[in-house]
Amino acid sequence: MAIIKTENLTYVYGDGTPFRKVAVDNVDLEIENGEMVGVIGHTGSGKSTLIQHFNGLLKPTSGSVYIDGERLWDDKAKLRPVRFKVGLVFQYPEYQLFEETCYKDIAFGPKNMGLDNAEIDRRIKETARMVGIGADVLDKSPFELSGGQKRRVAIAGVMAMEPQVLILDEPASGLDPKGRDQILGLIREYHQQKKNTVLLVSHSMEDIAKHTTKILVMNKAKLFCYDDTVKVFHRAKELEEMGLAVPQITRVFNRLRSMGIQFDDDVYTTKYAKELLMRLLADK
């Protein structure tokens, strides 16, 4: 059964004012359990609005959202458990840190879930290890840390709730290349370990190609497509028309093909590009 399902989901900002804007337009979507989904779209295409529906932060103007088969907003009291089931990490999550120590800040979510102290402690230690924060950092104030470390603490704060679905809105933006790879690597590791569903919003097609199995493309408030990563990047022309791109390596290989070099598959990661090149060279 689909873990996330939407039916005719529509959301309108500022209805009835001159600033009215349709942010999400009639989206029908089904995301299966255990997927690692990349969410892409031009700035203002409705990605962020869409993902805020999945944990009941925004109420659809019309249409419905089902999480694990249960329709949201039928009973407002049931929204809080949904937020523990679907963890959402916002863009620049380090701006939400508020506690005296990182330990206490990571504990905020699990505490709200009503877990006992031993369980909270176990989860904090586990997620801290997973995101690569040492025990000494846990006792520090989050305001003393570097940007990258703050980001890790903030992500750990959501991971510690052990949600069935983890949604991250540009978790790597504003970090240096090494920090990017580390953060995305740990998210992938988390996904493989916990076998849960992860949604990753990103502007970097390279990151998406490297880490996800499926891609959800939003364009002008509408769902453009939701399909396997390979199939989506196969539609390079359409993506480019939307102001999106395909990974650089794919562009290079598409160009090679148009220059007359024969190969079957599409290339969208450097790892595969290397294999293919080796094969092509060996054939020669």
């Binding site: 900002y13 001159p18 937020r83 916002f90 999550p93 701006y95 939400q96 959501v158």
Partner: protein
């Protein structure tokens, strides 16, 4: 959501009221208030009502927006009406029951006061609905500039006001974001006792404070990078100019003001 709140409540448009010079609009609003208080009977006030109504129609502000600005004052209006109704005892009594005594004069004063307050609110909200906050602060700075002679830091005050206004939407948006982020971690702000709810605000207020300081620092740095050094010798990107429409606006108000005075004399 917080975003839906109207602050600064500017309603963009291109009506003649919008196009008036903001300085003049402030002066005209003051004249309008004086006009409402000069009117001392129903007939004079009738002219005031006509002025308010016509200006409102010209400005093309939706009725819904106007109700929004009247709603918070509703209680004051009701209390004013009650006080006048029950405590004005001159004139012929209409109802007399135990200690309650309502006279025709009381009813008249009550209606008069309510209409006057309504006109006052509608008229002054038109000012804020039809001029952007930035135009308004600019206009206030210009109007107050004579005070510079007596060492009032007019430019600095206006700059502070402009910055404060500029950051209201930013901070609201930030509050919204932080609230969502904490809600996503299961923060519960809607249930529980007042004490519990106040405590639930801590995870929002602390990040908000931190980010306000960050904004202030960044802004100060950006201003210094552009060599901001205060008001002296500073030129403006948007020059305010009086145009023909401003003359018409003034004549329009003078006409009604004269009407009120005439009505007072006849009455």
């Amino acid at each position: 959501m917080i975003k839906d709140m109207t602050i600064g409540q500017y309603f963009p448009g291109k009506s003649p009221v919008h196009r008036l010079d903001a300085r003049l609009k402030i002066l005209l609003t003051i004249a309008f208030i004086v006009m409402l208080f000069v009117a001392d009977d129903i007939k004079g006030l009738g002219v005031g009502i006509a002025f308010t109504f016509i200006t409102f129609i010209i400005s093309r502000i939706p009725l819904k927006m106007m109700f929004k600005s009247i709603r918070p004052i509703l209680i004051i209006i009701i209390i004013t009406a009650m006080l006048n109704l029950f405590f004005v005892h001159t004139g012929t009594p209409l109802v007399e029951w135990k200690f309650i005594k309502i006279t025709d004069k009381g009813v008249e004063t009550a209606v008069f006061m309510v209409v006057r307050i309504l006109c006052l609110i509608v008229g002054t909200s038109l000012l804020t609905y039809t001029s952007s906050p930035i135009d308004l602060t600019d206009a206030i700075e210009r109007l107050l500039s004579p005070l510079k002679k007596i060492k009032v830091p007019v430019h600095e005050l206006a700059m502070m006001m402009t910055i404060a206004l500029r950051f209201i939407p930013t901070l609201l948006e930030e509050t919204d974001k932080i609230t969502s982020a904490q809600k996503a971690r299961g923060a519960d702000m809607e249930t529980g006792s007042i004490f519990k709810r106040a405590k639930a605000l801590i995870p929002i207020l602390i990040p908000l404070f931190v980010s306000s300081f960050r904004h202030a620092e960044e802004l100060a740095l950006a201003m210094e990078c552009r060599c901001y050094h205060g008001g002296e010798g500073r030129t403006r990107m948007k020059q305010l100019h009086f145009k023909l429409i401003d003359l018409w606006g003034t004549l329009y108000l003078v006409f009604f003001f004269a009407g009120v005075i005439v009505m007072n004399k006849i009455g």
